[in-house]
């Protein structure tokens, strides 16, 4: 079962997204801020990280940078999530080290396709 780390501070976002992912067969671990996210990502093994960018303690931008600087998490796919969705945010997320970007409100099939493309790249049509 693919394992996803969801780094999200908003309780309803966490509850909703983790339940939807679990329904699709993913195992979901949860971190509630950037520091916890970095700690869990470096100490565990995850197939993918979903990173909210507006996080307390350590925001998603810096958390992503730290994960990219750590050999244990350098190659773990990270998808950025944000409700800000301002012009240029996607490019900024990629520049910060994220592999992909998605905006809220989450279009679940679209997000699922991005997750699948990162976890099972060979099986995903391009």
């Amino acid at each position: 079962m693919p394992k996803i780390l969801l780094v999200e501070d908003n309780e309803m976002n966490r509850d909703m997204l983790s339940r939807r992912l679990e329904r699709k067969g993913y195992e979901v671990a949860i971190a509630v801020d950037g520091l916890q996210g970095v700690q869990m990502a470096t100490e565990g093994t995850f197939d993918l990280i979903l990173m909210d960018m507006s996080l307390p303690e350590l925001d998603g931008w810096e958390a992503t940078q730290r994960l990219r600087a750590d050999s244990r998490t350098r190659s773990t796919p990270i998808i950025a999530l944000t409700a800000h969705a301002m012009a240029g945010d996607r490019e900024k997320a990629i520049a910060a080290g994220c592999d992909d970007y998605d905006s809220k409100p989450v279009e679940f099939p679209r997000l699922l396709a991005k997750i699948e493309a990162r976890i099972h790249p060979a099986a995903t049509p391009r």
Binding site: E11, M12, M16, R23, E62, A83, M86
Partner: protein
Amino acid sequence: MSDRTAGDRPEDLAPSAPGPLSVSTLRHDLKTAVNHIRGYAELLIDEAEDQGWDGLIFGLRDVVKNGGVAAVLIDNALPTGPEIQPDLAGLCLQLSPLADTIRDRCATLTREADPTVAQQITEDLNRVVIAANRLGQLLDRECRVALGEPSECPIPEQETTDENPAR
């Protein structure tokens, strides 16, 4: 919060330009509420389909549809760049009735659901209502600001446990 402010970040990593920060924050808060509305309604549809609760699906799809319309209205009214002026008054006029419609639909779904089903869906429907209330409160405040009226009451903290007090 991060020990670095947005202004301390390198230019290429800052999430938003400083100009439209308040619009960015409003977009964020409105879209978070819409995310809850759509997400929980879609989750309930999945569960309704699995459980054969066919009577709920039409109403839930209506909630999802209204959430989608709300997202488009927010995108159209609140600019993603500094060069476009936000249309707060227009947004309030169009979005407030949608929030009311979503609340009404949830109330109807709860009222009309079979008692055994209602017990299982009430918690998630309440989450949709909480998000619609949040949407309405944000819009009410923004309408008053746009019209130059004093706000009746300060916007309450989000009605969920949220580890980020800045939201």
